[in-house]
Amino acid sequence: MNILKCFSVLFFIVFSYHLPAQVIRQSGNQFLSPEMLKLQNDPNGNPTVLWIDQGQELWNANCVKCHQEIKELASAVVRYPILKSKLGQASKVWNIEDQIIDCFGKISQESLSTEHQNVLALSIFLSDAAKGMPIHVDEPNIKKDKQLWQEQMIQGAAIYTRRQGRLNLSCTQCHDQNIGKNLRSDIVSPAYLTGFPIYRQSWQTVGSIDRRLRACYSGVQATVPSTQSSELRALELFLKKRSEGMLWDGPSIRR
């Protein structure tokens, strides 16, 4: 029974890598209202530019000592999440904010959260530099890590397809089966990870993918996993791989 479940989930993963030709994957920007799209494309009105400015200052003050070429580092935005381990710790999935937090830890011994303004500012700055790059999430090379990566992917796919919360909804029910339909006046998008971090109007500030995924759990009235939990990272890995090949939008505006 377990093998059957594994097989069907793997089949789902394979299916999402090689989508039939007629499926067009659209970024969430295509589901914005005309006003929001205008705001998204306006470099002088889009609130994320304030964080890009902040990120630039932080970059100049902190990062440029080790990382000379911004474009090279920006490619991390489309390659993450990756499997990584720190000295003495087991390998786990790191996303871009986890990496920034680790870097800050090296410089200032601070332990920041994914929603700390400095972390988000740098993440947005990098995200903006990565605009237009195609998403490319790779398996690790070492055999031992490869297996762990596959397990994380399977876990991510399992979370994506399982029903949860009081509303008893799975991610796939909305984001695959009901794309384009209305949830009150929200239009359901296919939820590809092409434009994070986001400035969300309902938050009236910027937030990371970690926060957005937690908000989704909250939306179906499920127990919200804690920030930086492995469940969220497994789901993010799966979602990023599902968006493989799509072009990065840069930091985006959402409702």
Partner: protein, 113 residues
């Protein structure tokens, strides 16, 4: 906002600055514009009010527009005004002040062509 500059500001001049033509002066300030009505963590206490109260836009030290803001202005406020480009252009400056005493300013040269 990031700990570097708690309230970043972006002053832009949009449009072709031909003498006699209109350009848009746009100010975008990073400020939460906290209304004082929102509830904090745990849903018990209200997050204290903190809004920008006043924004002044000047051209060459002459006040173009004096705006008093209330809680009804969106977070990270954007304010834009269209002005006619004067013959020699001028220095556009923006000053803002919030209800906790914080202030900010920005300047940009309007070069007339």
């Amino acid at each position: 906002m990031a700990t570097l500059n708690q309230h970043p500001i972006r002053l832009s001049i949009l449009g072709t600055p031909k003498v006699g033509q209109e350009v848009e002066i746009r100010v975008l300030i990073g400020h939460p514009m906290e209304t004082g009505y929102r509830l904090g963590e745990g849903g018990n206490d209200r997050i204290p009010k903190n809004i920008i109260e006043n924004i002044v836009i000047k051209l060459n030290q002459q006040v173009l527009m004096n705006a008093d803001l209330g809680t009804g202005i969106a977070a990270n406020p954007l304010l834009s005004i269209f002005v006619e480009v004067p013959k020699d252009g001028g220095m556009i400056s923006v000053e803002w002040r919030d209800d906790l005493g914080k202030q900010g300013r920005a300047e940009k040269m309007l070069l007339a062509i």
